[in-house]
Each structure stands twice: as structure tokens, then as C-alpha cells.
């Protein structure tokens, strides 16, 4: 593994080695936060051409705990906003000696273009490209589900997981569908027909338009963020109607299985896709997802950067 561009590139054993490494790292950090010297002297660039708080901060925290030097490069106030091409940006980063670039971009495939372009020699990590994929989010979701629901199993065999909301525009949903089904889980997509992509029938999932018929049988539910601008783009009649049919409220929360968990990749619209009471309930692992995100991203950086990628992997 040299780059992390999409879940589709990973084998099941790649995914499990990331999850297992993250688990070892998260147990080691249960005590006082310790800094590890592993990536000392390596430079990691956060190239964020699209707004993000938690993903960028999470990658930054992970890189710093491994002692890497982090350079933050965001769209606002950089030459990206002046229209510099990805190629020129990549060549600049190469000249500065970046060992890895973590890229968030509004164009689907941007990370792939950067990795295949021969403009730079470092690793490329996709932190979200357009409506395509967000692999590190899917890995941290799988990590969180495994910890709470897998009863000590290595993978997610036999679990039922619902992903609810704007599947059409969600890179989190795409990466999660691929990863969770690869790990043996049964994924149910719940959304209004207008927010499901064309061709979704061929995905390894079950589709439902009715949250009430699904909520009682799932082990985990991932609520996706509804972007307010979708209302004006006619995908949804109104916010109130969406909340009523697809929002996670106290009534639906009460009907979930006893050990089941509520997840959200953030940022949340409290009162729209998830009620405040649900987000703050005992079932909610939303804050823990953020914590797990740092461990999973440390594992990704460790596995991509610490060893010599030209040698055979001995995991």
C-alpha cells in the first residue's frame, strides 16, 4: 500500500490490518497521551481545497502524535483560490519535500489524479474527493462498529447497519458501503428516492424508503448530514418533512435494539437528520467516533509511511 485513495483499492486483509493497528494504538493511548517518534523528520501536507474541520484536525493530530511535521494548506488564502492547477500545486509540494499529501477536494477523483500524475513521489491520502469516497471516515466507522457490536470478532459478519440520508451526494456512504460489506456486514440504505444515486440497485445493499421498518433490526445506524442547500435544489420538499420521515428522534431511538449504536460523521444538523436528544443519548457514539478517528488515521499514516513500501508487506 503506497496510497490510500479509495476503499475499492483495499483487500479485506489490508482493511483489517489498519483496524488492528488502530486498536493497538488506541489501547496504548488510554493512559496519558504519548508522542511516538516514528515519523520524525517526515513532512505531511494537509491540502484542503474544501472546508473541513474535523478531518483536517484529526489527520493533523494523528501526524503530530507520530512526530511528523505538518504543513497546512487550505484553499482560502492559498494559490489554489487563485486558480493554480493541481499539477502546479503538486510540483510545489514535491519541491518542498512532502512525504505525504492528505487531500480534500471538491472534484471526484482529485486524489487519484494527484497519485497517478507522477508530479510527486510521496504518498497520497484521500480525505474526501467530491461525491466519490472518504476512506478514512469509513475505516473509523468500521472501527467504531467493530468495537461496540462485533463481540470480539475480527470482522463485521452478521451485523446489520443502516445508512440514512443523502446517499446521492455522500462520499461517506460510498466508502462505507464498500468497506462494511467487504467486512461481512449487511448494509441497508434508507433515503427518499430523490437522494439515491442512479445504479444503486447494483450496490451490495438493501434499499428502503421507510426508516421505521428498518430501525428496529439494525445494530448500528449512521445518520448522514443533510446539506441545507439541497432544499433549494428541489431534492426535498421541506426540512420539517425530512425530519419527520427520516430524522432520528426519541421515538425511533427507543425502538432500536438494546446494544445498538447511533453514529454521525459530523457536522450534525441537530433537529434535522438527528434530534438533539438522540445525538446526546447513551446510544450515541458520535464523540467517540472523533476519538477513534485519530487512532485510525495514525494507523493509516504508520502503515503508509513508516516502512519501506518497495519491500513485501509482512503483516
Amino acid at each position: 500500500m503506497r496510497h490510500l485513495l479509495s476503499i475499492a483499492d483495499l483487500t479485506k486483509s489490508d482493511a483489517l490490518s489498519i483496524l488492528n493497528t488502530a486498536e493497538t494504538l488506541s489501547r496504548a493511548s488510554d493512559g496519558p497521551m504519548k508522542k511516538l517518534p516514528t515519523l520524525r523528520g517526515r513532512t505531511i501536507v494537509n491540502l484542503f481545497a474544501e472546508d473541513s474541520t474535523r478531518t483536517r484536525i484529526s489527520f493533523e493530530a494523528a501526524a503530530k502524535r507520530l512526530s511528523a511535521d505538518v504543513i497546512n494548506f487550505s484553499a482560502k488564502g492559498s494559490s489554489l483560490s487563485k486558480g493554480e492547477s493541481l499539477k502546479d500545486t503538486a510540483q510545489t509540494l514535491q519541491a518542498m519535500g512532502a512525504d505525504a499529501v492528505i487531500i480534500r477536494h471538491s472534484a471526484s477523483g482529485a486524489a487519484h489524479t494527484l497519485a497517478q500524475g507522477q508530479w510527486m513521489s510521496g504518498s497520497v491520502i484521500n480525505a474526501g474527493d467530491g461525491t466519490h469516497e472518504h476512506p478514512s471516515q469509513a475505516l473509523l466507522d468500521a472501527f467504531t462498529i467493530r468495537k461496540h457490536c462485533a463481540h470480539g470478532n475480527d470482522d463485521l459478519t452478521g451485523l446489520r447497519i443502516a445508512i440514512v440520508g443523502d446517499i446521492l451526494h455522500s462520499r461517506v456512504a460510498r466508502s462505507n458501503v464498500l468497506l462494511l460489506s467487504m467486512l461481512g456486514a449487511h448494509v441497508v440504505l434508507v433515503a427518499p428516492p430523490t437522494l439515491l444515486p442512479i445504479g444503486v440497485e447494483s450496490w451490495p445493499v438493501t434499499i428502503s424508503y421507510d426508516l421505521d421498518s428498518v430501525i428496529e433490526s439494525v445494530d448500528a445506524v449512521i445518520m448522514l448530514r443533510i446539506q441545507i442547500e439541497r432544499m433549494t435544489e428541489m431534492y426535498l420538499p421541506s426540512a420539517g418533512e425530512y425530519a419527520r420521515f427520516y430524522g432520528l428522534n426519541l421515538d425511533r431511538l427507543a425502538r432500536m435494539k438494546t446494544q445498538s449504536i447511533v453514529m454521525h460523521p459530523g457536522p450534525m444538523n441537530r433537529g434535522l437528520e438527528i434530534s438533539s436528544e438522540s445525538a446526546d443519548s447513551a446510544r450515541s457514539v458520535i464523540v467517540e467516533q472523533v476519538k477513534n478517528g485519530v487512532s485510525v488515521r495514525m494507523a493509516i499514516l504508520y502503515l503508509l509511511l513508516a516502512g519501506n513500501q518497495d519491500l513485501e508487506v509482512s503483516l
Binding site: 490490518s17 493497538t24 494504538l25 496504548a28 508522542k35 504508520y302 519501506n308 508487506v313
Partner: protein, 177 residues
């Protein structure tokens, strides 16, 4: 390939090292054993059991993974991590005995000293190894040695332990060419 240390010798070496650890530290009250995964961790557990049968008291025993502190990470393929578990009393003001299977270049132990420094400040740090094969690249010396095995740098030492490999033995392999 020849057997450099058969099972009875390994067992006697562990018993002797257990006695030496008790002698050096006036018992085992202040001793914490930390095994370096994978085989060092199993050796530490055997030492702990042996010390308990000598002194009648339980002894603190854990593991210390040193992978993230290695200086040769970039020379090798990515390595899997092993768990670190520090026993309840910690390492502060204790006599910490690091336990590993083979002492060779000394780089693993250097990394272990770094990793240990992150955990706390022991009163002393001592080193117990099953086999010392020489060829040190750093100024590091073991306090307790099961067996000194003179080797050439091209030879390969393989330690097999019954917990993992079904049999206790130390093998010495020649590399052709």
C-alpha cells in the same frame, strides 16, 4: 541447521536467570518484568512463574512493544504492532527487567529504552536474554544471559517456544553462500 539449545537447557537457563534476578534485587518485591513481543513476552511470563515459585510472591509482568521506536523502520516492509501492557504498579521507582529472546545488534534494546522512557522513570533497568549472539552495534550489555552463542553475522538464530511453535529449542542456521 543445528540445535544450539535444546528444551532442558532452555528450562534450566530460565530457572537460573529467575534466581539471579531475585539475588540481584533482594527478592522480587520491586521487580517488574517487561517482555518484548513476540517471544520476549512469553519468556517474561515463564520467568515470572519461576520467580513466583522461588519467592512465593507474585511478580509484576507485562509487555513493551518497541516497534514505533525502531530506527530501522524505513529499511523494512511495514510491521504489525504488538500490544504494550504495563502492569498496575507501573515502572516508576521499580527495577525493570527487559526480557527478549536474542541479543544481537542491540538496536531493539535501544528502542526499548526509548519506549520505556515514555512510560516513566524506573529505579534501574536490567536486561535478560535467552541467547546473546554477539555482534553488538551499540554499547549495550545484558545483565542475565541464558547462553552465550558465538556466531558469525551471516548465521541465523531461531528461537522456538512451545507457546507459539509447539517446541522449545534454539536453532543455529547457516546461510548458504
Amino acid at each position: 541447521m543445528s540445535i544450539a539449545l535444546p528444551a532442558p537447557d532452555i528450562s534450566r537457563a530460565i530457572t537460573r536467570i529467575a534466581h539471579e534476578i531475585c539475588e540481584r534485587n533482594s527478592g522480587s518485591q520491586l521487580v517488574t518484568l517487561l517482555g518484548i513481543p513476540t517471544r520476549g513476552a512469553h519468556l517474561a511470563q515463564r520467568l515470572a512463574a519461576e520467580i513466583e515459585s522461588i519467592t512465593g510472591n507474585s511478580v509484576e509482568c507485562g509487555t513493551l512493544d518497541i516497534t514505533m521506536h525502531r530506527d530501522d523502520l524505513r529499511l523494512r516492509a511495514p510491521r504489525a504492532l504488538a500490544p504494550t501492557s504495563i502492569p498496575p504498579l507501573g515502572v516508576e521507582d521499580r527495577h525493570v527487567v527487559l526480557v527478549d529472546d536474542v541479543l544481537f545488534s542491540g538496536r531493539t534494546i535501544r528502542a526499548a529504552l526509548d519506549a520505556l522512557g515514555e512510560v516513566g522513570r524506573p529505579k534501574t533497568v536490567q536486561l535478560a536474554v535467552l541467547v546473546d549472539r554477539g555482534h553488538r552495534q551499540l554499547p549495550i550489555k545484558a545483565d542475565y544471559v541464558g547462553k552465550n552463542l558465538p556466531t558469525s553475522p551471516q548465521q541465523i538464530i531461531k528461537v522456538h517456544l512451545s507457546e507459539l511453535d509447539g517446541v522449545d529449542e534454539v536453532l543455529l542456521e547457516e546461510v548458504a553462500g
